[in-house]
């Protein structure tokens, strides 16, 4: 499939957002990054779907972000951003792991495209595998429930984008929307119940 050069912009933007979520532990930044990630995925989706269908994923994604963010606000978990440019050892490690994974993918995605997914454009594939791998890294490297959920949402964004480029099914779209909202509710549930346990 032919791909326009501009499609690399949303693809890279999505990867940057996922990378921010993988690296940083500042909840307000994570919520903002998730918002940008869903926007970038929406732009890429518009190249393979009618905008009227792609916008559903954007709305669901933002609703998911809002649900998570509101649960953090309700529980008073959103902290002030201090020392934004200071990186802990763990953050540096995750950043390095994320960069390595993306570099690895950038090298191997063209051959993967020609072998398995010839109908999907390269920028979309780069975003798909980047999101999936960064999401998985996040879900596996961290034991905080909130970040595991963000990791799974990122992973699913990649999967949905890939599937959208391969096949159109309204039922599957609806089920994916349900899964995303379910994950957000589970994330909010984790935030609320863990906050309750911390209360004296």
């Amino acid at each position: 499939m032919n791909s326009a050069a501009w499609m690399y912009i949303p693809a890279v933007l999505a990867l940057l957002a996922a990378g921010t979520n993988l690296t940083r532990r500042v909840w307000i930044v994570n919520a903002a990054a998730l918002t940008v990630q869903y926007l970038a995925v929406f732009v890429l989706l518009c190249t393979v779907r009618p905008a009227s269908l792609a916008v559903v994923k954007l709305l669901v994604g933002w609703m998911v972000t809002l649900t998570l963010f509101l649960s953090l606000i309700t529980e008073g978990e959103v902290r002030k951003v201090t020392g934004f440019f200071k990186f802990s050892a763990g953050e540096v490690f995750r950043l390095a792991a994320g960069l390595f994974a993306v570099a690895f993918l950038a090298v191997f995605t063209p051959s993967l495209q020609s072998l398995v997914f010839p109908q999907t454009s390269l920028p979309i594939l780069l975003a798909v595998f980047g999101l999936a791998v960064l999401g998985l890294l996040q879900a596996s490297m961290i034991s905080e429930p909130f970040y595991v959920i963000i990791g799974l949402l990122t992973f699913l964004s990649g999967v949905e984008l890939l599937y959208a480029s391969l096949e159109l099914s309204i039922l599957l779209e609806a089920l994916f929307a349900g899964v995303n909202l379910g994950l957000a509710l589970v994330g909010a549930f984790f935030v609320i119940k863990d906050a309750e346990l911390r209360e004296p």
Partner: protein, 472 residues
């Protein structure tokens, strides 16, 4: 009227109605169990051709419900599996009136059963992967309710179930290009790897099993036993769907031997690891893994008749889980988190003989000891395994030995004398608990004495799989 409407849509609506009664646990439990029992009985007695002969006409019930261009289809041959899933829901909802694992247990357990049935009936059936993800999400409040810290096992469970989703979906897409290609086609090998990897993640097959003991140690035993009993039964049947539907998959030369090997390795690993556990919950997790091994072994023996024994294992296994789950729930009720540690069980035989009996009988039943309901079917599986490859039996033996050592350790701990006389006094059990436990013991004993009771009926579970189990 259609079968998906009766066994999927209406129960889903009923589950939503139960939200209003969730704060009345007894009422909610009774409503959910009676409703599930009705659905289970209806599925058992419903005509397999889905038609009724009325005096003036023939009434046909449709088997398909179309949603967004895709369909849910429950044929007559699938109704036995539907009955099994609602039977499980009935039993666990009945037990939930004694031990309230969560405010949402009745709502979610019914919802989860509905989703399992949708999983087995959606067309194209690869979309079932998304239903299974939804089941995982609905399971979270049961495995990690409010007031309990979110444990790593629950998160790992969620991650593994989510990871399996794209593997199965992508297989569906890849399959459209396969058709009747020879099994050496690289696309086929790739698809087979994706499917099997996805299944391994879902069912907790070795080496992706770590989440099962982790959650079984920390979660409520009643909720856990329900979720894993339904998961194990439904996923085994779902794997049969794959094998039956795709000739390229079942004709892969190493597939069935691979399944047999994974099965016996799981039996050995789970059995041996259970021998060194110090927590009853964790040991229960290994018991479940032990049984997953038997399911995979039976599927691996499909060519020599193993599937019949897989189908006949379902009901006795579920009863054994229920007995162990009930006993562990009685131990955890109103007690500290360490209530399931082995060291807390000293003198339990004198204090709570029924609880002790539940744990031991359930374990012995799953081990496949004579007079208990799993014995005849496991004996046949041992025989088939030995005929095909005697080396495999060594692994089964190692696992069984491990489980036996665990049972011996438990008996020793249960029979130890407690130095504190007050703590050694017998505990008065709830009447409902005594009745339910006694009924389960009686049912297990009857099924152990006569293999012809109830169990052969469940061979019908195999009737949709005409490619795997040739019809006579």
């Amino acid at each position: 009227m259609s079968t998906p409407l009766i066994w999927i849509v209406i129960p889903l609506g009923f589950a939503l109605l139960l939200v209003f009664t969730r704060k009345k646990p007894i009422l909610s439990g009774i409503l959910a169990s009676v409703f599930s029992l009705l659905l289970a009985v209806l599925a058992l007695i419903f005509p397999r051709d889905l038609s009724f002969l009325l005096p003036d006409r023939r009434l046909e019930i449709a088997s398909t419900l179309v949603i967004f261009g895709r369909s849910l289809q429950i044929t007559g041959s699938q109704l036995t599996m539907v009955a099994l899933l609602y039977g499980i829901t009935f039993l666990w909802n009945l037990g939930s009136t004694l031990f309230r694992p969560s405010l949402w247990f009745n709502v979610l357990s019914l919802g989860i059963s509905v989703l399992w049935i949708a999983t087995l009936s959606v067309n194209p059936f690869l979309y079932a992967a998304v239903f299974i993800e939804l089941i995982a999400l609905l399971s979270i409040p049961l495995l990690s309710p409010r007031g309990v810290r979110t444990e790593r096992g629950v998160l790992r469970y969620l991650v593994f179930q989510t990871l399996a989703l794209p593997l199965i979906l992508l297989t569906g897409w890849m399959l459209s290009g396969i058709g009747s290609a020879p099994s050496a086609n690289p696309l086929i090998v790739r698809s087979a790897m994706l499917v099997l990897f996805g299944f391994a993640l879902w069912i907790g097959a070795f080496p992706f099993h770590s989440w099962i003991p982790m959650i079984s140690e920390k979660s409520h035993p009643w909720a856990l036993s329900f979720l894993l009993a339904a998961l194990q039964s439904a996923l085994s049947v779902f794997l049969l769907h794959f094998l039956d539907q795709y000739a390229w998959l079942r004709n892969l030369p190493v597939l069935f031997s691979g399944l047999r090997w994974i099965g016996v390795i799981m039996i050995a690993v789970a059995g041996l690891l259970s021998a060194v556990q110090n927590n009853l919950g964790k040991a229960f997790g290994y018991l479940i893994l032990f049984e997953t091994g038997y399911s995979l072994l039976a599927i691996g023996l499909a060519r020599t008749g193993g599937l019949n024994y897989l189908a006949m294992l379902f009901v006795p296994r579920v009863l054994s889980y229920a007995v162990v789950g009930l006993a562990l729930s009685a131990l955890t009720q109103h007690q500290h988190p360490e209530a399931l540690d082995y060291k807390a069980q000293e003198g339990l035989f004198k204090r709570r003989p029924l609880v002790t009996g539940g744990i031991l009988i359930g374990t012995f039943s799953l081990l496949g000891l004579p007079l208990l309901p799993l014995f005849p079917h496991k004996q046949m599986l041992w025989l088939l395994t030995a005929r095909l490859d005697p080396h495999l039996l060594g692994w089964v033996l190692a696992g069984s030995l491990g489980l036996l050592i665990n049972a011996a350790r438990l008996m020793r701990v249960f029979s130890l004398e407690k130095p504190d006389a007050v703590e050694s006094l017998p505990v008065r059990e709830k009447t409902g608990f005594v009745i339910l436990m006694a009924a389960l013991f009686l049912l297990m004993l009857t099924m152990g004495l006569s293999t012809q009771i109830l169990v052969p009926r469940f061979l019908e579970i195999l009737s949709p799989f005409s490619q795997l189990v040739p019809m006579p």
